[in-house]
């Protein structure tokens, strides 16, 4: 009986040791004062995305409550082959490229960046800003990130066209890696 109690103590110590061990190697590198970039949205959004679905939304009809106000375009043209590569270097955005031969609803090549590096506290969808030049001075469009990659590497981008500031059509790109 005494022997069993001793064994229980021993196992308890052993368990404690295993729990502490993993942290022994995690000496904070910041201890020496050097800086590490925080995780930004670029890590989540950057990369090569393949189109899983695309829907066209009639914003005029939707605003007026008229149906149908949405159709699926995935089976049309060559949307099934569409890929969007959002290139990053050191987690900083550089260029992007759309491939696959689908209709060019926004320029197929250019440069990009987000309007925020971190999610907005109020839940506003971050935007991918598209530029024609590397200096990012000539803006050619923007895509709202309406669904952010999380546990699943899936993302939804929305391209909205407006006239005099009023949306009249939009395209919902469902993407996955």
């Amino acid at each position: 009986m005494e022997c069993m109690i001793k064994n229980e103590y021993f196992l308890g110590y052993l368990l404690l040791l295993f729990m502490i061990l993993p942290f022994s190697g995690c000496e904070p590198v910041t201890d020496d004062g050097s800086y590490v970039d925080p995780i930004t949205l670029y890590e989540k959004i950057g990369g090569n995305w393949k189109l899983a679905d695309i829907r066209q939304v009639d914003e005029t009809a939707k605003a007026a409550g008229i149906s149908p106000n949405e159709i699926d375009l995935y089976a049309q043209f060559s949307f099934g082959n569409l890929s969007i590569e959002l290139k990053t270097e050191n987690n900083r955005p550089v260029s992007y490229q759309v491939t696959g031969g689908a209709p060019e609803l926004f320029p197929n090549t250019g440069f990009w960046q987000l309007d925020t590096e971190f999610p907005f506290a109020n839940g506003t969808a971050p935007k991918i800003l598209l530029y024609s030049d590397a200096a990012k001075t000539v803006k050619t469009g923007e895509l709202s990130v309406t669904s952010m990659p999380g546990a699943k590497t899936e993302m939804e981008l929305k391209l909205t066209r407006t006239t005099k500031g009023v949306p009249f059509v939009s395209y919902m790109y469902s993407l996955k890696k």
């Binding site: 066209q56 043209f77 009249f168």
Partner: protein, 374 residues
Amino acid sequence: MKKIALFIAFLCLAHFSMKAADISPDRQWCVPAQYSMDEEITWYFDFSGSTALPDGGDLYIWIWVPVNPVPGLPDPNQDKVKLDYKGDRIWALTFTPTEFFGMSAADIHANPETSFYFLLRSLEFEDWHTGTLSFPKVDYAGDFVKSGKMWDYATDDVQKKLYPTSYLTLWFNANLADGFDGVSDVHIHSGYNNFSDHVIEYHAWETVEAGFPCDQPQTACYTEFKNLGNGIYKKDLVPYEYFQAEKTDPMQNIEFLFVQKDWSATTANQTILAADVPPPPIPVLSLFPTNVSKFDILTIRRTYNVRNSTPLKYEIEGAGKTINGEFTGSLDLQEFYLNIRKEFGDNVSSLHIVIRDHNDNVISDSVKQLTIAD
């Protein structure tokens, strides 16, 4: 004595009532369904349920509106008012009203009664007879002209139900059809089920030997309308016979067009739905989205297309370039997707869109102004 007199009277009454058998037709109809008074017509009477009338028993018509052509029976001219036994307990009287009554069509219509009133009887009235029967006395041609319709139809059913075995009357007013001015001959080019089955074409270019019987579809007279004068035409037919189909062949509709003798003018296609076939939904042509810029994809859709009209065709002009092609999809949904800028370039500001059915009938001809995107 009084009792004996009463008994004799009772016997007479019983004898009379036993001999005088009332009969009544289960159904009566006229062929053709609608007619003018100088046309030969046939009145049919089905006595399936009147057992007092033996199969093939003699029946005579005793008519008093508008006049009685044979005042009493028996009469030397009684064959004129005798019905033919057609078998299967159906009797018929074939006659031309103007000749039968010895009156002009105008005089027949001038009679104030709105029906022909008559009864059917045996030569000896007491053997069997009906009560008063009638057929409507209508100036069908006059009513059709007054209706202001380019065409109309009637069947032997009061609700105008059409079956393969119906007696169908088609009316046509050439005065109201473009390109038919001064035309003498009008033909029908027609088929079952939107021209999918049993098509009877009118081939104006085929030479048909004189005297060739008109019951052959390849003759011009097979498809020809009867000219009633003043631009009014009429044709009577029984669908399954005319279209050389079986009675049981599915008939959803009859589609047809009126054709001028040499095909120099035709009407648009017309359709009569068969009985109990629900009217198809009205086709809807739509452009998606409501507002579209040159950078966008325009989708043109048309729902509920009729048989034999697809694939639809498009012809679209923009910035001086024209493209043509066909829609894809089913009868229920024909669609076409247009990548505007790819087809028409950056200078396009509007699209002239013409949609035609498979037979080149224009369904829609419109201009779509493109929205200028910010």
